[in-house]
Amino acid sequence: MDLDKDAQKLVWGAAVPLQIYLDESEITTLTPPPPFLVLGPRLGYLPLLIPLLKPHFNSSLPPGVDTIWFDYKGLPLKWYIPIGVLFDLLCAEPERPWNLTVHFRGYPSEILTPCEGEDSIKWSFINSLKEAAYIINGNCKNVMNMSQSDQVELWKCVGKAALEGYCRISSKLKLGTTMEEYIARIQSSLMQPTQGISDADNVGPSRAGRIPVRLYVRCIEEDLDDLTDATAINSWDQISYLNQPIEIRNNEGTYLTLHDALKVLLPDVFMDESSIDEQMSNMLLEDVPQQYTESDSQGGELEKVSSMGNNTVAFTSDRQSPQCSPSKSRVKLIRIQGIEPRLDLPLSWVISNLLNPEFYLHICVYLEVSPSQVERR
């Protein structure tokens, strides 16, 4: 194991202590069953705990067919988001143990995608891995062509948080995740002329230098002294979720930090002087008819709804829409794998150590906004 990857071992060993209660409406016994205590692996998924939970609660359940799901303070938890990410995102101040409720009936199928046992979770994982491979390599052949036995073994290693076995198989996928490899790709792509309908600044033949990222943005009240006072999330609409690769093309082998990467993803939040100018000039280019429902000129949520009729087709720029004045939201904190990383961390270290097994970097960003905006969201 590479010394540079010490943190990866810690990440793989990390778990969230869970205290799981049975939903009150499903208790058929006179005395409610005691909560179930279990360590939920950060890289694991909630439904994988079901074989442990089920015997504990089985005797209390009403008759019927199981459709198992979890909630935290009334928010149905998306089973395809890793446990560690759910915890980082939904517990502003880490709560230990984390009190969750399990439901065996009444699956909220309008909110959560169906989970049909372990196969659903496995394939959600494999499909994410495939997507990550496409982002990194420009194709997902290595994942598609994985042998059946490797596929089974890889998933088993993820389920058991067996890092060594995982590395052995995942290395066959050739999804190199060191900065050296990324930079080598970027440079080789810069050598090649732009081809086809590629934009010079967008699609290169090798799609080099892209990092698979899942970004979760949550707004909390500004000036909170205690994060436990943050308003709990009661709907997923309050979380902005972005499945958007970070492009790191513009740096020619220079030392990249986490801040550089976040700036690419959220230019308005992590900006520097020059990008403000650029935004202002791009705003002038925009002429798509738009309606704004702006909650507050100080920032906060803003939804833009523009309906394009048959003849009002006007796209001028994909670079920037003038959705609000920049720099009004401040970053309260950033969490990756339960860590609040310094922004000057080398990106190479982040990638080497903090990726989830499907090669995605899950980043939770808390933005500060005025309390009225938090409630409105």
Partner: protein, 239 residues
Amino acid sequence: MESSGSWVGTITLANFNTSASTLLERWSEIYPTLPPWIWVSCSRLPCGASRKGEGYLVLENIHQFMLDEEGGGEEGKCNEEVKLHNVLLDDCGRERFCGEDDSFDHDMLVESCDQETCVFDFHIVYSSSYRVPVLYFYAYRSDGQPLGLADIEHSLPPHSLKILQEARWTYMTREEHPHLNRPWFMLHPCGTSDWMKLLFDGNLFANELIVKQYLLSWLSVVGQAIGLKIPSGILKWPK
């Protein structure tokens, strides 16, 4: 003009937007009385974290793929649907791309209309991971009750049903809609760039033309997975 030979079949977000406008225009020209595709702009991030202008295409309230000859009660709509049905069935132009013979079984489609009418909403969303469009759809009964996979299987064209049975987890699954935060059916995009490249293969098109035709061509293939067919007339290929 450049050769499309080295093009990998993907499209940029900017070009997706351009191509979307072509789809809106052409669709309304050909089907003036059908529901139009609508462009919905949206921001997925809160203020202060705004991002480049993103949006998606929406085609809603499509009854049984507008192929329902038997079950329609609304006169005007029903006639239009019949017309569309005939037009669509005449088109075999794109079939080589799904590797099937003429498997759009007229009887099958009509038969499926005996069942309670399904209504479909279609959304076309850009995937920045795959750099291709992705088709999402939501199916519900006319009373609004959402339909699951088992409910819509009978509405799928036979070749699509076959793929679904062979590749249950990698063809058409319910996934979180990127803009709506709730489960929609999604057609997996991992092979899209490959067959889009094939679609334009051997043709020396100007980039501008590929951009314009991209979404229409894409929809003509991907729509077949759920019986939404595009007549060849909507595609303007250079002579």
